[in-house]
């Protein structure tokens, strides 16, 4: 019987390889078999340009380093000393601070890839990750695009189009009306479908919590439509608007899917991403504490069916809104990219999703089938944003002190280092902190240790105090929460770090000594 052994790739022609696999006979057979297996045509990637910065860029580079793929960083002027730049093998300057002239500048990035002899581009998340035009231009430039095809991205980018495909695939969607022209349309639809307020007005091209307004009554409707339309026009250049029923106290549950170019689609189970502030996730976990095995099975199956129907390739996520009151789930959207919270799926499955993305982009088949996927741990992730934990205002400046959590069962995915500057132009994510355990309580304990005793950040404010009080909140521990958990419990949650360690205390004393040494005796003394 053969088990898989090391894979050697022999060169065929420029950039193409045959895959040859050596099989090893199980002990007892006393023979060594050598089997030549001609695998699919594979286009091997040697150098990846990561079109991103901070946490996603560093995360992707780590896998590249594992696989001996060299990396190219792109950077804006304020990022010249950033962590992702020093982590990469090569770096290319692509412009000034504002994203429009740097990380969103397609010409410069493609130019950088060519100049640096990269053969592939990984977009990470955010910036150009779900930009069909960019994907297309990368491919047109003869580079490998590590992600779903531009056609799929473009299809999913339009909520109205996507909804139609989804419904056809038999996946439940939130009752809604597309192509809304007037308030009258909406009111008529509500009457016909027997829908009650609240409802949600959304930009068709929107995402990430932008271009969304909740409406409670008829009188608010015209204004909401006008607002979303103008926001949509400004942000996405498309003023199409759709309206959906608003699910009160819903939960966000998403299914991670990977697919190759050979028609294989496998889900890696779900993640719960319900804890959000201002419609942006800050705590995620896998698996979801709110699903029964049957429901989990059904949702994952639907997600795979949907991705198959779309013809999706590479890694992506199907997001659902789950109504815990009725136990119903509705399709929300497909995220056609690597997601921030992919790490917790990696922790529970033992897989490397970025590695799979590279494999798929190289043209390989998925190395596993659905029955090989057996998550056996619980994982939790918090997003350590540089934000005021009370107001969520971003906090800029230098990280004068940074101690990253460590100890058993902790995974850190950081975009910064002690001394780094946090510039005001970008996403406020400093670091992802993940904790794993045999069960949920275990994972929470590890996270508690990481946040309360290990993590130290000075120089900028972070969400850490809020994150800690969330994971200590009885309702969170019970798993009873909705997307409105933070707004509903804010007063309860606001608390500061209670634990302090002796090093903290000594550093406070040192700060005092430094100040007095520099300034001498003070008036207040």
């Amino acid at each position: 019987m053969l088990t898989s052994g090391p894979t050697f790739r022999l060169p065929r022609t420029s950039g193409f390889f045959f895959n040859i696999q050596f099989g090893v006979v199980e002990p007892g057979q006393h023979a060594l078999l050598l089997r030549w297996e001609v695998m699919e045509m594979v286009q091997r990637i040697k150098r990846i340009l990561v079109a991103n910065r901070g946490v996603p860029a560093v995360r992707i580079m780590h896998t590249c380093i594992d696989r001996k793929i060299s990396t190219v960083a792109v950077y804006s002027t304020p990022d010249r000393l950033a962590h992702h730049v020093t982590t990469a093998d090569f770096a290319v300057h692509i412009g000034e601070g504002p994203p429009g002239v740097s990380y969103l500048n397609m010409d410069k990035i493609i130019d950088a890839a060519k100049k640096s002899n990269a053969d592939a581009i990984h977009p990470g998340w955010g910036f150009l990750a779900e930009n069909a035009e960019f994907a297309r231009r990368v491919q047109d430039a003869g580079l490998i695009w590590i992600g779903p095809s531009p056609e799929v991205i473009s299809l999913l980018g339009d909520k109205i189009q996507a909804k139609a495909v989804v419904e056809k695939a038999g996946v439940p969607t939130i009752p809604g009306i597309i192509n809304v022209k007037s308030a009258q349309d909406v009111i008529r639809w509500m009457k016909e479908e027997n829908i009650e307020y609240p409802i949600m007005v959304k930009a068709s091209a929107g995402g990430g919590g932008k271009g969304m307004v909740k409406v409670e009554k008829d009188s608010e409707l015209p204004q909401a439509l006008a607002r979303v339309r103008s926001e949509a026009k400004k942000s996405f250049g498309d003023d199409k608007v759709l309206v959906e029923k608003y699910i009160e106290r819903g939960r966000h549950i998403e299914v991670q899917v990977v697919a190759d170019n050979h028609g294989n689609v496998v889900h890696l189970c779900e993640r719960e991403c319900t804890i959000q502030r201002r419609n942006q996730k800050i705590i995620e976990e896998a698996p979801s504490p709110s699903l029964t095995p049957e429901l989990r099975e059904e949702m994952c199956r639907k997600a795979v069916a949907l991705m198959k129907a779309i013809g999706y390739t590479n890694a992506g996520t199907v997001e659902f809104l789950f109504d815990s009151a009725t136990r119903k789930y509705y399709f929300l959207e497909v995220n056609a990219r690597l997601q921030v919270e992919h790490g917790i799926t990696e922790l529970i499955t033992g897989l490397d999703i970025v590695g799979i993305m590279i494999d798929v982009a190289e043209g390989r088949k998925l190395p596993f089938t659905q029955k090989d996927i057996h998550p056996n741990r619980w994982a939790l992730e918090v997003r350590l944003n540089a934000e005021d934990p009370r107001t969520f205002n971003p906090s800029f400046g230098w990280l004068t002190r940074l101690a990253e959590p460590h100890g058993p069962s902790v995974r850190i995915s950081s975009g910064v280092y002690e001394g780094a500057e946090i510039p005001p132009y970008y996403d406020s994510l400093l670091m992802l902190i993940m904790a794993a355990g045999a069960d949920r309580a275990d994972a929470i304990r590890v996270m508690d240790r990481s946040l309360s005793r290990n993590l130290r950040v000075e120089g900028v404010k972070t969400l850490a105090p809020l994150l800690l009080s969330i994971i200590r909140h009885p309702l969170f521990i019970k798993g009873e929460f909705s997307t409105r958990f933070i707004e509903e419990n804010m007063a309860d949650l606001i608390s500061s770090f209670v634990e302090k360690d002796d090093e903290d205390e000594a550093l406070k004393v040192a700060k005092y000594v430094a100040e007095i040494s520099a300034l001498g005796p003070q008036d207040w003394m």
């Binding site: 009370r390 004068t400 606001i494 608390s495 500061s496 002796d502 090093e503 903290d504 205390e505 000594a506 550093l507 406070k508 004393v509 040192a510 700060k511 005092y512 000594v513 430094a514 100040e515 007095i516 040494s517 520099a518 300034l519 001498g520 005796p521 207040w524 003394m525």
Partner: protein, 674 residues
């Protein structure tokens, strides 16, 4: 050893009192940890150093250690950045055998204004102190009621104090009436220790012997403690006279701490009394060791000593209490009027014959701000000649004319009628009875005319006969707690809440400091605390939870654009600290000029906008004539700013907690049309 420790924490008040009575001679309270430092070192002696005395105190056989209260409390949070709560906690651990003693100012507790009843109850209930010495600067015993009740209910020792001064009006008959009130309040003499608080150090040996004797005649069982400052130079004979007359406990301090205005030196007092045939309960060896210990660190406090050194027998006239000496001189020095001190002391000696009360907090502050204000005003207007004119006017009135207002000529009368016009708000509150009854009754009519101008009759009619305890409405403690929680961004603990109740603004400053600098006030030796590390290689070592830490200076950079970089090795790890140098802000101060502009009456801090009844005031609000629209605090005293007429507020020209100059524009008003 065990008989040396004759009283310990946990004993009931009655047992403690009995044990003191049973002593053959006298015993001591050491003020080394509180009043000694207050009187000669502006309360700057730090816990770091005082704690070195604790092991000796633990074996010395003291009656108690006065280590808490008085101004040490407030100066602790403001200047030493030490919490009086932490101090109790640490001392309990280091000297578990010793009764910890505080000093409270009846309704003012450890602050400077009367607190409502429920605040007093809450605070007294939550502070872990064994001996509660409580005084009233008016000897208005009614004001002690709540403190006495709570302390006695907690089974802690209540030690009511009579404020003592030497004056023709303060005779034994007067004091006996005060003692009578105390005995009535405390339900007898069994569970209290009566203190005679000679805060200025003015009791002559004969006078004090006579008073103690009078009390013992009337109440043979009364245990009497004599608290005496040394200002006049006669402390030792006075202590002997008190002991001979039957006082059982005397307040003393380490000989090596003794300067001029604190208590008498303990080793000397012991020797002097024993030579005179009075046994003194004291483990001399431990006391000597404590005296020696003080010498190891006291030299680091030169900077905190009073600029006026030496005994002052004239204290009998000006009556400035020992505890106020260094801080008053400090204020005079900072305010640039140190040269006016002799005149101020002179004016004080005349003032205290016009308005009779006891010069101890808050009375001493009222005296000080009122008198220094008057002298400064004359000095500013007419220079040295003006000051001379003022003292001779007052001398003529008080001494030559025996305070007969009508005997003064027309011009002199007019001048007297302006004497108190700019007096601080708390002086006016005193005249209105807001602190309680004055010991010799209300001052003469002209004083009201002088302080209140045209409103004088109304002021007199509004004089309060009741104790502030019965006047002030309860405070909403939960609302206050919430306010603090909002300021801190978290729930405060009980200690933090009490700091805030006493001194809201200073407590917040302190808590912010503590948040930034943590244990620095407790772990750093005094030289480093005050001056930092000076040259490369200078080190400071300390422990936190038994773990050693070491900070070593590597270098201090030159100032560049308001920043100095300090490089230090903290436990071997090199760290760079960015220190911002305080910039002199060149903001132009707008002065009140026009008719409709309200200026600040004094230099001080605008700590309240509006008033408690209506809350803050903002542009557009309507204010009414005589309504308080702001309050300025200076030198612990409050001065109200009143609306001069009915008006609408056009502009609030200052921010809350801003330091304002005299005459600085506070409000622009639009007078209401009649």
């Amino acid at each position: 050893m065990s008989d040396v420790l004759f009283v310990t924490p946990g004993m009931s008040p009655r047992e403690i009192v009995d044990r003191v009575r049973a002593l053959p001679g006298v015993c001591f309270t050491s003020t080394g940890m509180r009043d000694a430092g207050q009187s000669d070192y502006k309360n700057r002696l730090r816990y770091y150093d005082l704690a070195t005395l604790a092991p000796y105190y633990n074996r010395m056989g003291l009656f108690s250690a006065e280590c808490h209260g008085g101004a040490r409390w407030h100066v602790g949070i403001m200047n030493r950045r030490e919490s009086p709560f932490d101090e109790i906690l640490f001392l309990r651990e280091k000297m578990p055998n010793v009764l910890l003693q505080t000093l409270v100012r009846e309704t003012n507790l450890w602050g400077y204004r009367p607190y409502p009843k429920n605040v007093i109850e809450h605070v007294v209930r939550n502070v872990d102190i064994d001996v509660w010495r409580c005084f009233s600067f008016l000897n208005d015993i009614r004001n002690m009621r709540v403190v006495a009740e709570v302390v006695m209910k907690r089974d802690r020792l209540f030690s009511p104090a009579i404020s003592f001064t030497q004056a023709d009006w303060a005779d034994n008959k007067y004091y006996m009436s005060v003692v009578k009130d105390i005995v009535a309040l405390c339900g007898g003499t069994e569970e209290i220790i009566l203190t005679i608080k000679d805060m200025a150090g003015v009791g002559s040996p004969a006078r004090i012997g006579s008073l103690v004797d009078a009390i013992k005649q009337a109440y043979p069982d009364m245990v009497i403690q004599y608290h005496r400052h040394a200002t006049d130079g006669l402390a030792l004979p006075a202590l002997l006279a008190a002991a001979r007359a039957g006082a059982k406990i005397l307040d003393v301090e380490e000989d090596s701490l003794t300067r001029f205005y604190g208590q008498a030196p303990m080793l000397a007092v012991q020797a002097y009394l024993e030579e005179s045939g009075i046994p003194v309960h004291l483990n001399r060896r431990e006391a000597e060791a404590a005296v020696q210990k003080v010498r190891e660190w006291i030299n680091q406090y030169h900077w905190a000593e009073s600029p006026f050194k030496g005994s002052d027998h004239n204290v009998l006239r000006h009556k400035m209490p020992g505890g106020a000496f260094p801080s008053s001189f400090e204020q005079a020095e900072k305010g640039g009027f140190l040269h006016l001190m002799p005149a101020i002391l002179k004016v004080m000696s005349l003032y205290n014959q016009i308005i009779k009360y006891f010069d101890v907090t808050p009375g001493s502050q009222i005296t000080w701000t009122t008198c220094s204000g008057i002298v400064n005003r004359y000095a500013k207007a007419r220079g040295e000649a003006g000051v001379k004119h003022l003292t001779s006017l007052l001398e003529r009135f008080v001494i030559a004319k025996n305070q007969d207002f009508n005997a003064m000529d027309e011009n002199e009368q007019q001048e007297l009628l302006k004497l108190f016009r700019n007096a601080p708000g708390d002086f006016k509150n005193l005249l209105l009875g807001q602190y309680g009854k004055l010991p010799m009754g209300w001052p003469d009519e002209w004083v009201y005319k002088s302080a209140f101008g045209r409103e004088w009759q109304k002021a007199m009619a509004n004089r309060e006969e009741e104790s502030p305890l019965d006047l002030l409405p309860d405070e909403d403690l939960e609302a206050e707690r919430k306010k603090l929680a909002e300021e801190l961004g978290r729930e405060p603990n009980e200690s933090e809440f009490i700091l805030y109740l006493m001194h809201p603004k200073d407590a917040l400053d302190y808590l912010k400091f503590k948040e930034r600098f943590g244990e620095a006030p407790y772990v750093l030796p005094t030289n480093v605390w005050r001056e930092g590390l000076k040259k490369t290689g200078d080190k400071v070592e300390f422990e936190i939870n038994g773990k050693p830490f070491c900070i070593e200076l590597v270098s201090i950079g030159a100032e560049h654009e308001g920043i100095i970089h300090v490089i230090m090795r903290v436990n071997n790890k090199m760290r760079v600290y960015t220190v911002h140098t305080p910039r002199v802000k060149k903001t132009e101060v707008r002065m009140a000029k026009a008719e409709n502009e309200v200026g600040s009456p004094i230099n001080g801090t605008l700590w309240r906008l509006g008033n408690p009844q209506r809350g803050a005031i903002k542009p557009g609000d309507i204010v009414h004539k005589g309504e308080e629209i702001a309050n300025i605090e200076a030198m612990k005293m409050e001065t109200a700013v009143l609306a001069p007429y009915d008006a609408q507020v056009v502009e609030v020209s200052v921010k809350l907690n801003e330091v304002v100059k005299e005459g600085q524009l506070l409000f622009v008003l639009q007078p209401s049309e009649q």
